[in-house]
Every structure is written in C-alpha cells, then in structure tokens.
Symmetry: D2
Subunit: 351 residues, 4 copies
Amino acid sequence: TRPREAAVHFGILPTGSLNAITDVPGVKVGHFTKIQGENIRTGVTAILPHGGNIFQQKVPAAVYVGNGFGKLAGTTQVMELGNIETPIILTNTLSVAAGIEGVVKYSLSQAGNENVQSVNAVVGETNDGYLNDIRGMHISSDEVIKAIQSAASGAIAEGNVGAGTGTVCFGWKGGIGTSSRKLPESLGGYTVGVIVQTNFGGNLQIAGVPVGEKLGKYPFKDALEKSDGSCMIVVATDAPVLDRNLERMAKRAMMGLAKTGGIASNGSGDYVIAFSTAEGLRIPYSMPSGKLEEAAYLRNDDMTPLFMAVIEATEEAIINSLFAAESMKGKDQHQVEKLPVGQVLEWVKNK
Amino acid sequence: TRPREAAVHFGILPTGSLNAITDVPGVKVGHFTKIQGENIRTGVTAILPHGGNIFQQKVPAAVYVGNGFGKLAGTTQVMELGNIETPIILTNTLSVAAGIEGVVKYSLSQAGNENVQSVNAVVGETNDGYLNDIRGMHISSDEVIKAIQSAASGAIAEGNVGAGTGTVCFGWKGGIGTSSRKLPESLGGYTVGVIVQTNFGGNLQIAGVPVGEKLGKYPFKDALEKSDGSCMIVVATDAPVLDRNLERMAKRAMMGLAKTGGIASNGSGDYVIAFSTAEGLRIPYSMPSGKLEEAAYLRNDDMTPLFMAVIEATEEAIINSLFAAESMKGKDQHQVEKLPVGQVLEWVKNK
Amino acid sequence: TRPREAAVHFGILPTGSLNAITDVPGVKVGHFTKIQGENIRTGVTAILPHGGNIFQQKVPAAVYVGNGFGKLAGTTQVMELGNIETPIILTNTLSVAAGIEGVVKYSLSQAGNENVQSVNAVVGETNDGYLNDIRGMHISSDEVIKAIQSAASGAIAEGNVGAGTGTVCFGWKGGIGTSSRKLPESLGGYTVGVIVQTNFGGNLQIAGVPVGEKLGKYPFKDALEKSDGSCMIVVATDAPVLDRNLERMAKRAMMGLAKTGGIASNGSGDYVIAFSTAEGLRIPYSMPSGKLEEAAYLRNDDMTPLFMAVIEATEEAIINSLFAAESMKGKDQHQVEKLPVGQVLEWVKNK
Amino acid sequence: TRPREAAVHFGILPTGSLNAITDVPGVKVGHFTKIQGENIRTGVTAILPHGGNIFQQKVPAAVYVGNGFGKLAGTTQVMELGNIETPIILTNTLSVAAGIEGVVKYSLSQAGNENVQSVNAVVGETNDGYLNDIRGMHISSDEVIKAIQSAASGAIAEGNVGAGTGTVCFGWKGGIGTSSRKLPESLGGYTVGVIVQTNFGGNLQIAGVPVGEKLGKYPFKDALEKSDGSCMIVVATDAPVLDRNLERMAKRAMMGLAKTGGIASNGSGDYVIAFSTAEGLRIPYSMPSGKLEEAAYLRNDDMTPLFMAVIEATEEAIINSLFAAESMKGKDQHQVEKLPVGQVLEWVKNK
C-alpha cells in the first residue's frame, strides 16, 4: 500500500494520476534488478526524459549538489551547457564506470548518432554495500543498456528494484520511490514528477510524525551509530523551464528530503537532477550556425508553485520508497527490515 | 511562552542553557528597534562573533545562498577568504546602505584600526514593507552603530524587536527568533546557536503539525496569493570548524527552514551565514609574512552531529520567532496577527 | 593617444566605431570625478544598460568572481534571477554604502517606481587609498546620483576620471579604460563593449611585450613588494544572450586581464559584470502571472566569437586605462607616475 | 628542444630542476601510449600525488572548471570534501569509464584497502577524435592500471605520449607538457608543478609573439573554422595549502592558458585539478572519531607568489607540449603538423 492509498497526505497540491514521475508526459523509467545468490543485491534504474533520441534532442537540465560525497558523473557539462543529452542512470557506487560505458555505447549506437564523438553520461549512485557485494562490481554495461531499453511509461515499480534493490534508509529497507504533483490550471497546470533512490539516514519523520524517535532509530542514539548514506533525486517537469530555474527547482528537492528527517550527513551523496520535457525547449544537436533559439519559457515570478510541487513530491517519493521496500537479507547474512508500515499508519492517522 | 517551555520539542539534541545563539560563548547580540508613529516599524539586529576587535581577529565563516532574491552585502569576500571581519547586521531591504555605512564607520573608529582602508561589511535584510514605510529609509548608520554597541551576552529578546520588528511569516507576525543545541560530550560537547529574522511564507508546520492547513493559511490557497518573503539565518558555533565545513553547516539551515514549511519562494532572500568562534581559529589581520597558520580543526567525518544541530536549532528558532511575535498594526493601517499560540499548542500536544 | 591610434593591436577582431562600451547601442556611461585639496582623489562611474527605466525593464545579466577580495554589492540577486535592475556603479571601497544609497534613491524616485519596495543595487569598487583619503568616505549618495544622471552615449573619458580617479595599476597610474569589438556579420554582427576600473598589480605585458620586466616593475621583485589591488570589469553586448551564457562571457574577461599580466593576487577584488541590451530579452517588472517569456537567444554553439571578443576588448580596455591616465599626486604627498607611453610604444613597434 | 633550452622565458620566477610537475617531491607521472594500425592514436596519463596509498592518505585538493564542456569525473566529491583519494587519470573523452574502472580496481586491490567500498576516481579527458578512432573506445581498464603502475619520479616525456598521443592544439599537434616554478626562499621556497593535456584552440601567442596571426592560423579566420577543444591541467605543490586556497590556485591556471591565446571556446572542457603534497596536510582515511586535525597551513596573505607560479608554469607547460609534439598521421588519413618550432624561435628571439 502506498501511503496516499491509506489517506496519508504530503502537502496540499494534488498528485498526477499515477503519482509517479511518469505523470510527466514522455518520461520513461526502466529497472534492471540483480539479485543473485546470497551476496548480490543491486541494480540499475534508467530515467529517459523522452522517448526519442536524447542526444539529438537534448533537454534543458540542471544539477544541484545537496552534499557531494558521491560519484555522480556528468555534472559539470550539465551545469555549463544547461542540458542533458543521455538517459539518466542510477546504480551502485562502484558501478558508475559500467553506467557510463553503457550510456556511451547506447548513445553511439543509436540511429542518427553515427558521427558522435562525445557523450556526456549522467550516472548517479548510492552505496548498497551493506546488502550487496559492491566490491564485486556486478553491474555490466550491457545490464545498463537493458535498463535503458526496458524503460516505459506508466506505473513504476517501487522499493527493492533497480538501483534501489539493496539500499537502506533511516535504518530500514530503502529503495526506489516516486511521486508527482499536478498544478491547478490557474497556476499553469504543469506536472512535476520525482523519483528517488533512498539510501540515507537521519531522524525519520512521516507526515509530521517523529517515527524515528518513536521507533528508537535515530542518529547518534548511542553517540556511536553513524547515519551516513545518500539520496539520488531526479525531478522532471513538463513546464517550460530553462536551466537556471531548473537548478532552483532541484535545490528545493533537498527541502523535501529535509521534511522526511534527512540530515545530509557528511558521508552522503545527495544530488538532484532536474530537467524539462517541454517540447519547445528541446535543444537540437545540429542547427545552422547563428540561428537563434526561439522559445517560450516560465518567468522567475511564476516559479513558486513549481518549487512547492518539488518539495511535496520529493517528500512523498522518499516515504513511498520506504513503504514499498520489503525486508531483505543479503551480503554476509546482513538483514535489513521493512519499515513497520502498519504501526506507522496508525500513528499518522491518530496524530 | 517559548514552545519548549510548553514541552514542545524539535528534534533530539539538547539545547544550550539559554536556548539561544548566545549559548555559544562570546557571541553577542544587540537590537535597535524603531517604532515611530503609524508607519515606522523597523530596526536593526547586530550579531558579534566575539567581544573583541573583529577586524583584527577575524573568524572563519561561510555564506550559503538558499535563494538569492536579496541584498546581503559582503558575500563574495566571505566566500573567497573564508572569514568575517565585522559584526553581522540584519535590517530592512532598503537600509542595507545604512547597515554598511554603520559597520564601516564602527570598524574604522575602533582602537587599533587607525590604518584600516578596507572593511567587508556583512549586512543582511528582509523586506518589512507591509508594516513599515520602507521607502522612507528610516534607519541611519548611527542607529546601526547603536545596535552594535548594545550587543550583549545572555538571553535575547525575540519577536517584534530589532530587524524583526516589522516582519511577517507564514501570514502571521514574524520577527527575531533564536535557539541552540549542545552536543553531548561524546560528540565533542560543542554548541551550535542560531538566530533568525523571519519574513517568509509557505505551508506552516510546527513540530510536525500542519498548522498552515489547519488554520487555512497556505500558499496558493486561492491560486492567487503569493507566498514571498525572506529569511536571514545566522549560525554560530564554538566547534573548531574551518570555512568549507562552515559552508556545509550553513547549507543545513535551509533544511531546518524546510521543516517549518518554508518553500524558498521565488521572491525570497534566504541566506545563511555561519561562523566559528573557536579561539584557535582566529585569523589575525597582521601576521609576519610566510608564517604558517597553526590550527586544530574538526575533520569532515565528525561534522554530522553539527549538521543535525543546525537543522534542529534553525527549525526551533523560526518557530520561536512566531511564538514571541505579537500582533502589530503599521503602515497604511496594515494589521498582522499573532499566531494563535494556544490553539497551536493544543494541536501539538494532542498529536 | 590610445594604443590603437598608434597602430597597436590586441587580437584579431575589429573594434566598434568608438572602441568603447558605448558602441553597444543604448549603453550610457557617466563619471563623477572628485579631486579636492591634497587628499581627495576619488569618484564614481555609472554604467546604464539602457536609457529607460531599468527597474521596469531589467536586462539579462551575470556576475563572475575572478577573485572575491572585494565588496561588490548585489551579486547574489543577479546570480539567482539572472538580471540587473539598476545602473551599475563603480566607486571606492569605502563608498559602497553611498553607492547603494544613491542607486536606491535614484530608483525609488523614477517615474513608474512609486510602489517599488525592493531594489538590488549593483555597486563595485576598488581601493584608491594610496592616493585618496579613503577613510574620509568622501563620496555622497547625491554624487552617485550625479554620475547616473550625467551618463551619456558617445565617447568616454578614460584615465583619471570617475571611479578611476585615484587608482594604481601595475605600479603606474591606472584609471578607467574602455574598448569594444564588433563581430563580422557572418558571425552575427554583434558588438561587445568593456569598461574597466584598473587598480591591480602583476607583471605588465602590453601587446606581448614584457613591459613590467623591461621597466623593472614586477611582483616580488625584491621578494618584498606586494602586488595587490583590484579590477572591476563591466561587459555589455547587444547579442541576445541569456544569463548562463553571460556568465560564461564574464568569465572570459579574466582571461583578457591575464594577457595584460594581471595575476589576481590574494588581495584583489576582480569581478566581471556582464549584461545584454538585446531588446527582445528585456525582463519587465510586471507581467500577467503565468504568461510565458517569449524570446530568441543565442545558442551555446554560437558563443565562441563573443568569448573571443570579451578577451580582446578586456585586454585593450586595461591597456587603454594605462595610456590615458596621467601622473598624480595625492594623499600624504603620494605620487604615482604615468606609464612611459613613448618608451612602451617603441618597444611594441620594434617587436 | 624545450623553449627554455632555447632561452625563451615565461615570466620571472625560476623553474625547478626538471622544469616538470615531478619537481614537486613525491609526485609521480606515468604514461600509457597506444598507437596501433592507422586509426588508434590515444593513451592514458596518470598523475600520483604521492607514492603511498593515496586512499589511506588523501591529499587536500580542489577543482576549478574553466569551461565545463567535458566529462571530468569525481568533481563534486573533491569540492565537497576538499581532497583527492586516487591517482588522477587523463585519457580520451569516450574512455572515462575505462579510467574510472581502472582507478576503482586499482584502489580496491591495494594492500590496506580490503574493506573499502567507495572510491572517488578523478578522471579527465580531452577529445582526440580527429586523429584517433575514439568511438572504438580502445582504452581498457587494464591499460589505465598500467599507466598508474608505470608512474615514476624524474623527467617526464612530453608531446605525443599518454593522454596527449592524439591531441591537437591551436591547429598544430598538441600533447602532454609540463613545467614548474620554485619560489625563492624568502617567499617560502615552495615548488609548483603543472602538467597539461593540450587539445584546444585560440589565437596562439608564444612568449608574447602572436604566432597564430603570423602563421595564419587563428579562430574564425574565414568566419567558418571552429576553434573548439579542451585542456586538462593538473597543478601540484608542496606548499601547505588547504582546499580553498588550492581552488584559488587552480583558478589561476586558466590565466596561464589565456596567455597562450586560449579562449576557452564553447566546446572546450577546460578543468584544473590542484593538490598539495605537504605531508602535514595528509588526510588519513581512518582516524579516531572526534580527534581534531592539527595542521600548519599557508594564510591567504601568502598565496600571491603561488598564484603567479601557477600562471607562469601553466603557460610554459602548454607551450612545452607544442614544442615536444611531432607531426602525426592518424584516423582516416588525418594529418596534423608539428608547430614550426624553428620559425617560432626566430620570431621570439627577435622580438
């Protein structure tokens, strides 16, 4: 059960019909999940801004670094040029090379890219090394391509799938989560979608309830436990937003994470990648020199509802990942329990 | 009544003895409040990192820009050099010039600064123009110096004082608020103190209770209301933290703001200034050329408890500002009500 | 004589007709020069992106910090919103407050701004304290307004005028300098203009000739002399460039400075402010909510000629300031000599 | 012949004994050059900050992005934590994945790293696709490890070796170049070393002589030619400099590049990585929690000579790469000529 099906709300804006990043038209998501033997618990999640050739039709994009203890590839080019030209890949920390290799091979082999000699792969990660034999580097570039090729519209599997297969969040089993918001027509009617790979710690709060404290799991409880870990966040919108304002949207995702009790600990790699799917803002790879880009885009003054949508959808996506994840046993017999969802729902409803 | 006196808690770490930024030894705060006639409702708040000559004994510092629709002066030098060399001034948007002039005159006139020709004044602001005749520019540089000279250790007045005199927050009367955290000895025993000037909007949440929604005050309720406004946040610590890690601490303050329901709207000037008072990290103005700085400072790995302290203290300082502020009538008969504290406390206790 | 009149060239692109920032249509520049008694040698330079109400018709803009030991006001808002809404003021370090006050008063008093309550003044400075009694803070807000009001199109006075009145550069008298480049029509035909306030040190190189070494004035010659000081650089273009690419243009100005031998020493406040005057990119203060901005702007791929133009024009503007400045005696009988232009020209021509 | 052997000087500071990055004690450099058949012209260059286990003994470091059209991996963690924990790898654009994989495998396999689960590989690149079949992705992770394992102290091969095998610079054959500066004892006696992988365009200037113009090779000569390409720059110093000031040093390398006529075109990936080898600033992977770092480091005020050293050594390293590179024929019979060194030397000497 997703929290919203149990009447738990996060904020005031309505969700899209799927309450998923795929409510943003054109966005596709694919998971490759790798659970093998006792020690392999990992995977790949691919997010495609649109179904066409992304390299030929780049999308405006931005990256915000919440806390940079992570290996996200591709950041400086996104920041410099304001666009993304490949699928976005999420995987485990030591498989970023496989992620890049997969994205590069995929891009080079697409029809129309026969002469391409430079590809900026955007590959994020969190560390699933507690449940997964991460040092084994078990993801191959072919598996990354599989995740890309399996990407589809529609509902998205959450929890222990794809890049969330082996992650841990607030001491409970984490994973993939997603959510969306649809602005009222009076505010533009735009959709904002978020997908997260949750692998971080902090003082868990769900819909305002201090769940971490109630369950006795919170940072430095014994002045000993660490609370490290990371969260990768991808934000999509069909609103026509250029790169500078996409960066501002990305920044707000960390505020949604904060509402779940995340603290962006020293060891966390918390990154937000935001892009716009607005067709009028596509950036073609080839254009006649000197031809101006003609575009219609949102002004600063109209960004606030989108900021709020990002905050709300990020909070809900993170909690969704916790609700969907199941208990898992993995490497070295490590066991991580599922959040006690029934107990949490009781608290939330009685507050 | 402060929330904590009513047994409302924010997070898990204990506060310092005053639950104020002045729990950080050496930090001094001074208010100059200007309420005159029907239209003047403004003021100045000065925060002094220590009681000595700050220009001669600079402190490590950093600035984080949560949202930069604001006029904070002095940022680039703080970022470049990693230190602050003056009192920090908070005031209204159109009085930043008076703030700088006051700080410069104060610094030039201090004993020992007779040959100083360059002063980097750090002056922040929020816009109190709803209650205050801000276009009148009613703050003078002398009044800024008064705020500096009145700075003292000990308990701090909150609410409608100093730079918070005319501010509005979440649709209620905002103002100055402060809070602190004291880490357990096992985590270093350091103190983190926060002071805020609250003048922003969003979807108010207090200790997890969706107060904004319950009271029917939240952004875009009628798809019309704007939710703009700003928050200035100053973070002090006696932990020996260098500038890079101070910036990371500053970044976490926005996560505390997020927990109160702030959304960092387009029009907000949300800034965080963080400094360390650790005596071993003072940066003398004059030193023999070539002499190395010798210092002992916290490593990255030990920063997480301080991050959590910043988040908690910022959340509480903001809510403290709302609890302390009183209803006010000002410019053009504008009236802003005090938060209905009794109602809120009931909700919080029954959750 | 300007170097170009003596057949000295900087780079390969042609200049505009005035070889000045005012070659960019609409840009106006005003100087207020204050030379009084033996000790006052300072002033103000105002740069207006266009002749209308800038607050109501903001221009896309960016700031790049070459080295941030300076007090440039207004940076964070320019970076956040991507625009400038006031005249740009240059003055001395301790008169930034007067600069802000002047800009705010000017803006508040303009017809159409009667309800404006927030103004982001952009005020830069360098330190003229060697020749000028800077501690006297001899610039008033009225004098700042005078500089704004005197702004005009056409040729610009260089050397010991306005904000360059008392500055020192490479050990010689510095001041105001300006230059421009006009791209060939095949590259868009755009104009780039630069104006500088030169007050920095380094190892002077003019058109490739190591003038500093030949004249025996260079940093650490005696392993003693410092080489501090600052350079304020303003870049204007009529090319339709949005804020992200304006920031990239701004960044290239420091490369032009590098070609003169500047080293961006620790104590320098080297900042570049860039804006576009393209009428199609104006950002109106008031627009109906939700209405998209419709614009045509240059793509990343077409930026390189503009980058080259910035580099060339910045190098030439700096050298122009040195050629135009005259020897000056000021505070405490300090004397700074004019660059020996005849000697330099001989070297340059014989190379 | 290196230019300096022909009495060409760049700036005023003396070089180290090798005039190479390896003048910084402890720094090692290794090349793997891959020239196969008619189409493979590529390689790997590895720079090791010290000869020990870098993961266990990290070094303070910073990254500066001159222009971010590039794929440099590892940037955000270096910026967040202020250190580097692996060898630095340079290779071609589409082999960054191989670079990361090589560094990760190398690091995981080092004695003492048996439990390491997270490695931040720093891998830079430029695009050698004109001479090299870059789409073939001919570099393997094993070849990256070979470059690391071959790293040595002492003189460094320049020109068509390692990551510079197939690069092109200013229209001539580029490659690897290196240079150093040794400050006089009165300024600390520190050494600064630079190594570059040159693959960029612009208006070539050598020791002040406008070589590009004289040879008729410069950007937009026919308003048609593009001038894209990249430069990777690595700066090492034994001066005890913390991360913030290392970033400032990194920034100055772009000023050295500017002096060679580089323009940081739109398509360039110009990055600078700077680190300090000072033993007192090593950052151990494991330390008792709460233990302060005790260090002695350079103050802001003493940085200027190091800034100048970076500028000079970068300029010279770039020119060294051009002098050392030889003409090469590669992919699709593409031919790139060697800079006409004799002619250049004549011009330089006669200036």
